[in-house]
């Protein structure tokens, strides 16, 4: 590989100009000739039997082209447990369950038609609390599983746990033990760009769907399966991903509205667009679930962690989506954040009549890190050890194999702790206490571990990448991962430029499309940069080898041609005494900034041949060739045994620490953040501004999680399905200095040494804030979000 001149540098993102000038086309901006607008009739009950659906009035409304229900369409199962269906028959299990849909010539008519559909329900007893749902006699959300077998409980059939060492013995041996019950609320991914899709069939019944998704290829598989269920077995779906206005995990599964658009498009023979509005996004696009985490940790007299025992109960809501697999990622911090020899983890995921949940940035990690790192501070207190020292004592180290059998290659946790402490003035400020008037100041920190080399949760964890070089020296890249605002195309452009040796202006990342791009498992698990750049490096090796081998024949001729031309203009041209033909061996060539030259050749302009020239020469010679290459990068990791919670699920691991200084007003309970420090071991900084953006954004989400955000429900109904009442932090809430430190540990399996960094930003923010609050006022808040009234109530208890 050539040296890196673009990786690590500041460059404008390739998508920046279109974004700032409003040229980008999101799903909302796209329309097709003859397109119809779909709208969904949703349940008005959290749990009810559907007695009848009367669509006659809607069908008669002029402009309505189709009205469908679960009774006049083939059943299409949805979700990895197949426990959901595109349109419900027999019963609804949460608010806004899809019971009917229309396609009409404009959105107003579609909305009017929806109001004309009459559904008669017979309400059923509901259950909204996961613990109540587990009690004997609780109403069953599903009476049968997908195979039609009767079930007797609301437990989602997902087993994930861990038991290593001997927790009971360690408990007996521990000098200090601290237990705690923690909880996290239901929250929303809050993408500024709401979801939507356009489905259309060609004359052969093949489907093209433009969809807001992070998993185009798994979506293709789901849609193909649906086509089979619709009697179109063997037909194909092509998934095209438009520009996305954020995803944060909401695009990690296929959704009922997409299948409904497919059903409507097939019924009408016309393209059908369905847009999900903000309220629907809150209620039916699957937020991050609430969970209760029961934790006990114990250490010896010197503060060395002896055991960790964690039980998680997670509210799944009415159907299973990827949220039900969160415990698989919880395993990461549970078994491997800090060195802890004896670990037990049990998880249970419970069906309720709440909205169902799925992926969000961090995927289970923030939920348990909240408990682990808050509880660790209390344990340090009990042991009489400074909280920073406690973390140092138990710090993970490179080369470690954790109880989950995760192989820690590089680990910058210790440097992260030190940097955070330094920027926070830890030794001065920790325990120092008082601020002005009735305010108290405090500092706190929390750490994180996350997958840094993708996360193997599916049979294949690979990413394919195809490059097609053209006569002009362009490198067209076809990659199946998704740009959703995080800067994937920017970093991939840099990686291609550096690994191929071409100018970034010559690199073009094409739209993600299952018809043109090779397979990719999806853009999740902080894997975009790690996977795509590794794939780019593999592709570069192949392409460069082919170019250099062709150059053995072509390069001397190109030099001759160049010289002949130059001599015509300047007969006096001095030519160094160098035998180009003899030196032209594949391993002597170098390609940099789109020019091929000989590594030990003379350093004169005419001894460099533009790549385009070489490519044309390759094309237009006898038996000519065009350069395309495809690679398939599969990272070195194992699919864990989830029941045992054992397996090296990622090729490497990212570590980090956040530290916070807060000021708490003891009279009002209000918390003001005075400073936040984030130290993150990313292996190598690939794209400095984009990385900073990822971390800033993560911190903003972490602060939302810690202090503001909560989807409030009342009997399963969401009370705040809008951004007036759902409290996302604004610029005002981010008005404090943030210090970023990036530790470069040069990860051997990482592209250019880098590890994934997309999700970590939000993982440790909440426990760091809670620990700082505890330092300031001596109270421990265990339930997110940390609102001022919770602080006042805790202060009143403290006395």
């Amino acid at each position: 590989m050539t040296d890196t001149r673009y990786i690590g540098s500041h460059r404008a993102r390739p998508d920046a100009a279109d974004k700032v000038t409003g040229k980008v086309r999101y799903i909302h901006d796209i329309s097709k000739p003859g397109m119809l607008y779909g709208k969904i009739k949703r349940s008005e009950h959290a749990h009810a039997r559907i007695v009848s659906i009367d669509t006659t009035r809607a069908e008669r409304l002029p402009g309505v082209c189709a009205v469908i229900t679960g009774y006049n369409t083939p059943p299409v199962a949805v979700g990895f447990l197949r426990d959901n269906s595109a349109l419900k028959r027999d019963k609804v299990r949460h608010f806004r369950d899809e019971v009917a849909a229309v396609a009409a010539i404009d959105p107003d008519i579609a909305a009017a038609a929806i109001d004309l559909i009459e559904v008669e329900y017979e309400p059923l007893p509901c259950v909204f609390d996961p613990l109540e749902a587990l009690e004997p006699g609780a109403p069953l959300v599903h009476e049968q599983d997908a195979r039609g077998t009767s079930v007797t409980s609301n437990l989602v059939p997902m087993e994930c746990g861990h038991d290593s060492g001997d927790v009971e013995a360690a408990r007996r041996a521990a000098a200090h033990i601290v237990e705690g019950d923690y909880s996290v609320p239901l929250i929303q991914q809050s993408c500024l760009g709401t979801a939507g899709c356009i489905a259309e069939f060609d004359g052969n019944d093949n489907l093209t769907i433009t969809a807001k998704t992070q998993i185009p290829f798994l979506a293709q598989r789901d849609f193909n399966r649906a086509l089979g269920e619709m009697g179109l077995r063997g037909r194909n779906s092509r998934v095209i991903v438009p520009a996305l206005g954020g995803a944060f995990g909401s695009g990690l599964d296929t959704h009922c509205y997409e299948f409904i658009a497919i059903l409507l498009a097939h019924r009408t023979g016309r393209p059908v667009k369905i847009l999900v509005d903000r309220e629907e996004e809150f209620a039916s696009l699957s937020p991050r679930q609430s969970a209760r985490v029961k934790i006990a940790q114990g250490c010896d007299a010197q503060g060395r962690l002896l055991f960790r025992d964690i039980e998680v109960v997670q509210d799944n809501g009415a159907y299973a989506s990827w949220g039900a697999t969160f415990p698989t990622v919880m395993l990461l911090p549970v078994t491997s954040l800090y060195r802890v020899p004896n670990v037990r983890f049990t998880s249970c995921i419970v069906y309720t009549n709440n909205t169902y949940c799925q992926a969000m940035r961090g995927y289970g990690n923030p939920e348990v890190t909240w408990a682990i790192d808050s509880n660790l501070d209390d344990l340090a207190d009990a042991a009489g050890i400074d909280a920073l020292e406690m973390r140092r004592i138990n710090c993970n180290e490179p080369g470690e194999v954790t109880p989950m059998q995760m192989k820690i290659s590089t680990c910058g946790l210790r440097e992260c702790l030190d940097k955070t402490a330094e920027h926070l003035d830890w030794s001065e400020k920790r325990g120092a206490g008082s601020g002005p008037g009735q305010t108290r100041t405090g500092v706190g920190m929390a750490s994180l571990i996350h997958v840094g080399g993708s996360g193997r949760i599916y049979r294949s964890d690979a990413s394919g990448l195809t490059v097609k070089l053209d006569d002009f020296g362009n490198v067209n890249v076809f990659y199946g991962g998704v740009e959703m605002g995080q800067g994937l195309h920017a970093v991939l452009t840099m990686a291609v430029a550096d690994s191929f040796g071409v100018l970034p202006e010559h690199v073009h990342i094409n739209q993600t499309d299952t018809a043109t791009c090779p397979w990719d498992v999806g853009t999740h698990a902080s894997r975009g940069a790690f996977m795509s750049c590794n794939a780019a490096i593999l592709a570069a090796e192949k392409v460069r080898a082919r170019i250099f081998s062709a150059c053995e024949e072509l390069f001397p001729a190109e030099i001759d041609r160049a010289l002949t031309k130059l001599r015509r203009d300047d007969p006096e041209l001095g030519v160094p005494d160098f035998d180009f033909a003899a030196a032209s061996r594949a391993d002597n060539f170098e390609l940099r900034d789109s020019e091929v030259f000989l590594r030990d050749g003379p350093d004169v302009p005419w001894a460099r041949v533009p790549l385009g020239r070489i490519l044309r020469a390759m094309h237009f010679r006898r038996d000519g060739e065009m350069l395309t290459e495809s690679v398939f990068y599969d990272p070195p990791s194992d699919l864990p045994d989830w029941k045992k919670g054992i397996g090296n699920m990622s090729a490497c691991y990212t570590y980090g620490v956040q530290g916070v200084e807060v000021e708490v007003d003891e009279d009002t309970g209000e918390v003001a953040i005075k400073k936040l420090v984030s130290a993150l071991d990313v292996g190598k900084v690939l794209n400095p501004p984009a990385l900073r953006g990822q971390v800033y954004g993560g911190i903003a989400q972490g602060i939302g999680y810690a202090l503001y955000e909560e989807v409030k429900t009342e009997q399963g109904r969401i009370l705040n399905p809008n951004f007036t009442d759902y409290k996302l932090p604004t610029a005002c809430e981010m008005d404090f200095p943030i210090v970023l430190e990036f530790i470069e540990t040069d990860e051997p399996v990482g592209p250019f040494g880098a590890k994934g960094a997309g999700e970590p930003g939000l993982v440790p923010t909440a426990p760091a804030i809670a620990n700082a609050i505890q330092d300031a006022i001596g109270v421990r808040i265990r339930d997110l979000p940390i609102t001022p009234e919770k602080i006042l109530a805790a202060l009143a208890k403290r006395g």
């Binding site: 009279d667 503001y708 009370l719 399905p721 007036t724 009442d725 409290k727 610029a731 009234e789 006042l792």
Partner: protein
């Protein structure tokens, strides 16, 4: 969300406006006035009592002056927030204006619309679908209250920021309608519940807010409870106006917003003659907490909102004495 259809009227003079209002009233046609529209239009989108006619104030000339005695009803909240005259005489009013929603909304919203802002409630400010599935409440389309079911009045929360400051300043509002012009003390203007809200005929236009010169002796302050520092309605807001006589309280006026269905002026809180000390501040705090009632229909639990009205009053008192 899509707006419902309505006929939009664009009078350019008050006479023309009054005529349109008179005609529509005579025809039995319901209408709303719209100034900035930052309250009317979101409510219309949610199908909250939309009317078939809207009379826009956008093309009226004038009514936007800002002076120490008089503020035109169409004056922008943002202009109040930036007014040097007001900041010199009534800093509390400027603080309140600055705390209204967000910069773009302050650039559209007017003082008139702010004073006449509709009340807010979890069960009211929702989409048509949401309200239909829950069952409509009496503030729109239904006949029960979902917050206090046994009662026959609406407890939706008054959420304007300017009213409490204008209440402590003893402002008066001028109303013009088909039956002529009248002036009402703001302290008598707000009345009844979250549906009735104030004593204004549907056809009456608010043209101006007058502040008596006697209020110039007062030092004013405003503080509101909100979760974030922007785009937040007050869920408990306190305005204080204080005149000290030596080291004693000469005159103290207190008003509260974001607690009940109307902003409330506490005229019975007489602390005149009390020493301007922390002890008096605490007495004020206690007296206010005793009087304030909140309902569970906006963010933050009622107990916390109640406590914060007292707390903010105490802090404001000390700051104004300071």
């Amino acid at each position: 969300m899509i707006l419902p259809t309505f006929e939009l009227h664009h009078p350019t003079t008050i006479t023309e406006l009054v005529e349109i209002a008179r005609d529509l009233t005579a025809q039995g046609e319901a209408f709303d006035y719209m100034a900035g529209g930052t309250d009317v239009l979101p409510n219309y989108k949610n199908r909250l009592n939309p009317r078939p006619h809207v009379i826009s104030l956008a093309r009226l000339a004038g009514l936007d002056e800002i002076g120490v005695d008089r503020i035109g009803a169409r004056a922008l909240v943002d202009d109040l927030a930036r007014s040097s005259v007001l900041s010199e005489h009534y800093p509390g009013l400027v603080e309140a204006a600055r705390s209204v929603s967000s910069p773009p909304l302050r650039n559209l919203g007017t003082i008139g619309g702010n004073l006449l802002l509709d009340t807010r409630c979890w069960y009211f400010n929702q989409s048509e679908f949401w309200r239909e599935s829950k069952g409509y409440c009496m503030k729109a389309d239904g006949d029960v209250c979902l917050v206090v079911p046994q009662k026959e009045i609406c407890y939706a929360t008054y959420s304007g920021d300017l009213a409490p400051v204008l209440l402590v300043l003893d402002a008066r509002v001028t109303l013009v309608g088909p039956d002529g012009e009248r002036t009402v003390p703001l302290r008598e203007f707000y009345a009844f519940d979250g549906i009735t809200r104030f004593l204004k005929g549907p056809a009456e236009l608010l043209t101006a807010v007058d502040i008596p010169s006697s209020s110039r002796e007062l030092r004013t302050g405003y503080r509101k409870l909100r979760m974030r520092d922007t785009i937040e309605y007050p869920v408990a807001g306190v305005a204080l106006a204080l005149h000290t006589d030596g080291d004693k309280v000469g005159r103290l006026e207190v008003a509260v917003t974001g607690t009940e269905a109307i902003p409330l002026w506490y005229g019975d809180l007489d602390l005149t003659g009390q020493p301007a000390t922390p002890a008096t501040a605490e007495a004020l705090q206690e007296a206010l907490v005793d009087r304030v009632t909140c309902y569970r229909n906006v963010p933050f639990p009622p107990g916390y909102r109640k406590a914060m009205t007292g707390e903010y009053a105490r802090e404001l008192f000390s700051a104004l004495v300071g």
